[in-house]
Amino acid sequence: MAVLNNKKSKVSDEVPTSSMADIAFLLLIFFLVTTVFPKDKGLAIVLPEESETVEVNQKNILHIVIQPSGVVEVRRGESQQVQTVSPSDIEGIWRQDVASNPNLIAGVKTHPDTPYRFMIDVLDALQTAGADKISLQLLEG
């Protein structure tokens, strides 16, 4: 048994630092995972100023009426002809019409009871098609 006592103790007298990295990395991963990046994104639009009313030639307006069911009615300028489409079709319609009339303005009229998302769908389609002159109104009467 004397041989055993002769052996030097292998226990180090220092604080073990090898696992420190693991602890730090665990914390790091925890913060990486739990960090929530805020949702600062959406569809930007500039509202008209209060006194600002601009008279627009009827010819240059693409009337878009959104009904509560999500059905979209498109009417061009002075014509009385109404075309019934779905929100995603607006993109193609705008691209087609703006090619023949660069001064085109999208007049989006939404029925008061229409869910917000249908209006967003139409706005999305218009912005995807590159429209920048958009007027948002409430459908009256």
């Binding site: 630092t17 090898s18 420190m20 990295a21 602890i23 730090a24 990395f25 914390l27 790091l28 913060f31 990486l32 960090t35 929530v36 805020p38 949702k39 600062d40 994104k41 959406g42 569809l43 930007a44 639009i45 500039v46 509202l47 008209p48 100023e49 209060e50 959104i66 995603s88 939404t110 029925h111 008061p112 009871d113 229409t114 869910p115 917000y116 998302r117 249908f118 209006m119 967003i120 769908d121 706005l123 999305d124 912005q127 995807t128 948002l136 109104q137 409430l138």
Partner: protein, 149 residues
Amino acid sequence: MAIKQGGFSRKSKTSDEIPSSSLADIAFLLLIFFMVTTVFRTDSERDIIWPQAEATEKIDEKKKNILNIWVERNGSIFMNDQPYTMEQVSEVVGPLYAQSDRRLVISVRGDREVPYMTMDQLQKELVSAGVVRVVFATELEQRMTRQRR
């Protein structure tokens, strides 16, 4: 002062392992970096279902110049965790807009099922407060999900 045996018998003190003692420092530095840069939101999220849009873009404005207006499904309005009525919106937003040097951007965070009536009223309130830069907050819509609908 001659070096005995030419100094060759000494064992090299260079370890053959990758030095791992500084690993903890690196990790802690990264950790501190993330802790410092993490910005906790001033207002907590309301329970809404986001509308989706393909043309979703990041708001090009500093965070402090963005005011969130939450519109819940039942039409109730929240700003900075406080409930407000529709008529109060312009009273609250107006001074904030002046404070921000007319740089304030309103992020309208409406539930997808909110009747448009409410949204129109909100827009009118904002216009009467003088705010013209508005963002309708949306989630980015992928083409795939769109086709499935």
